[in-house]
Amino acid sequence: MSAVFKPEETFRGDFNYSNSPQAVRRFPLPFAEDNYMYSVNIEPHLPGPLGSVTEFAFDVDEHYVAECRERAIVLATEPLRYQAMPHMMSSQWDCLELIMESLAHDYPAHFSLAKQGNRWHWINRPLEIDQHFTFGDTATLPREPLDYITRQAQGDFVVMDQREGDLWCEAGMVTTQADWSLDFDLGMTFKEWHGPVPLAHELQVFDRALKFLLNLRLGQPVRRLNWTMTINPRLDTSPENYPQWGTDRAAVTAQNAGDLVHLRVELQGLWRLPRSNAVVFGIRCYLISLRQLATVPKWARRVHRVLKDLHPALVDYKGLTRYRDAAVQWLAPFDDGSPTTSGTAPE
């Protein structure tokens, strides 16, 4: 979609953030039914409908400029939100190439990439960046390649090295995360990294997901949706900063839940990288307040039902315990009990 950027938006402090009516309509609702349980809900990352969040490999929307500024704010005080182990350098260049080529191809009005052999010229108009560099030569960029390009992308990125029949979390840029830490997880295997997730291990979700990802093919990326909830439109809900946001949850009431409680949806994409044979995991975060969500009647009914009946272990794991009831109460008036059509489309 041809988004009009909203550079004045903030994800902290005064939380000057909202979705335009167009952005509400394209919000990636993760609930295709009126109830929710884990599944290996992986599908090919093929181009979705015109204007949808999956139209292109990487979705650039109206929050782009503001999200890039938010990332810079986090990194200025916490540089370890970006880390890469030394053996991940070839995968860093792979990521830079993937993101630059995708953005330039899909959003020619905003980005362009010109190549003469290894001499590349990158222009990012929304962020006013004009960079000549030599592909493969780190000294020609102001930062490491993954650091450089993910400062110009929405969402978090983790790069996993593949060896010993496992995927190792060994590089990443993580500033828009739902309460997990790259600094803590760096160096972990796939299952160690996902250790805290309840129920899913028993369901062998990670055995199957790992086996699938080890065989992920070049040129055939996949995606899935995941979700949780966040108080205020706060992108950086990190364990490092828990004291700054953890207490927000105590402020939720049935009266203010519509404005404070946000559905937080992650569009997760996975790509095999060509030079390094690593896998990059993109975690793109979308936020919407219950009040904006409820402007779509079907979604209000569905989210009310999903939250009301959510498995207690998931309520705890997603950190909803303190305010789930308040959110359900706030949504209840929107649910007249009428059936919802299957699928996630607004009507």
Partner: protein
């Protein structure tokens, strides 16, 4: 996964490099560049033979930096079911072939302190591309290349020119053999060993490394099995409700595909496990030829790799 995204390539070079091995250069028929790949990758080459389709895996042996062409080496197999003979006899400059995107099941370990590469015969091919990555890097490596005789030493000049003292060549014809015990007992901690060649060599390297105390995570090998010929048998595909005849010289996977049923696959050589298929009923025995299932799983006869494995049976029902 499937062949939905194949690339049409044109053969732009064919060279007989040994009495048994031909070297092919493939360029994208539509022009432009081929996909970037990593050393150790293979491609599946789809060949439209007389009356049947062959799909064989071949390691990419060219430089991952030179993407105007892909290079493969094809050994003429004595007991060929047709694929390698087709490449040798029917493919010439100007021929067109379909290839799938590269897949790497034999990548170099990026945190290894040293790499020891061991090749037998045509097994040299994946190492040729890996050497492009290793050359000029900071991690030490050495290559041990065993061949029948000098006339069978494919790509030797290219190796000698570039690798110098890191290359060790052994000629069977002169009674030279790799001293595996010495080689593997004297490596520094953190070394990874990679072997590609005849099945006997692979088994010997694995056993020797294990007896020297190497952890399994530091032992890497790749061998694409050609699907062996066998007796004809019938298979019933439960979900498709189809009965399929598997002739002696066609693999189970090929027969199922010829019947119009798609099976996800990556390597077609018994390595990756992607075509893993559940056996629902069996009256007889499975002939497992893959390197993926454990001996215990093979004995259970509850699953099969249709790319290389067959059955001696009266009845076989698969979950397809």
């Amino acid at each position: 996964m499937n062949d939905a995204q194949t690339i049409t390539v044109e053969v732009i070079g064919v060279e007989q490099v040994t009495p048994l091995i031909k070297h092919f250069k493939l360029a994208p028929a539509a022009g432009g560049s081929l996909p970037v790949f990593s050393g150790g990758s293979h491609i599946i080459v789809v060949m439209q033979g007389a009356g049947r389709v062959h799909k064989n895996p071949y390691s990419l042996l060219g430089s991952p930096l030179a993407l105007d062409t892909y290079e493969i080496g094809v050994r003429r197999m004595e007991e060929s079911r047709g694929g390698s003979h087709f490449m040798h006899d029917a493919v010439e400059v100007g021929s067109r072939l379909e290839i799938a995107h590269p897949v790497n099941l034999f990548g170099l370990d990026k945190i290894a302190r040293k790499h020891v590469l061991i090749a037998g015969g045509i097994g040299i091919t994946p190492f040729l591309a890996q050497l492009e990555d290793l050359h000029g890097g900071s991690v030490p490596y050495e290559l041990h290349y065993s061949v029948r005789s000098s006339e069978h030493a494919a790509f030797l000049q290219r190796l000698q020119r570039r690798e110098g003292e890191r290359l060790h060549v052994y000629y069977d014809s002169e009674g030279q053999t790799i001293a595996f015990e010495t080689l593997l007992a004297t490596q520094p901690l953190g070394t990874h060993v990679y072997v590609c060649g005849p099945v006997g060599m692979i088994k010997h390297v694995i056993a020797t490394a294990q007896s020297c105390g190497w952890p399994d995570s530091h032992i890497h090998w790749e061998q694409f099995s050609a699907p062996p010929v066998g007796d004809a048998f019938e298979v019933f595909l439960a979900r498709s409700k189809l009965s399929v005849h598997v002739p002696p010289d066609q693999s189970l996977l090929e027969s199922i595909e010829a019947a119009g049923v798609e099976v996800p696959y990556l390597c077609r050589g018994g390595v990756c496990g992607f075509c893993h298929t559940r056996v629902l009923e069996l009256d007889g025995e499975l002939v497992h030829n893959d390197h993926f299932l454990s001996e215990a799983d093979k004995a259970k006869a509850k699953s099969i790799m249709p790319c290389v494995s067959r059955a001696n049976c009266k009845r076989l029902v698969l979950d397809l």
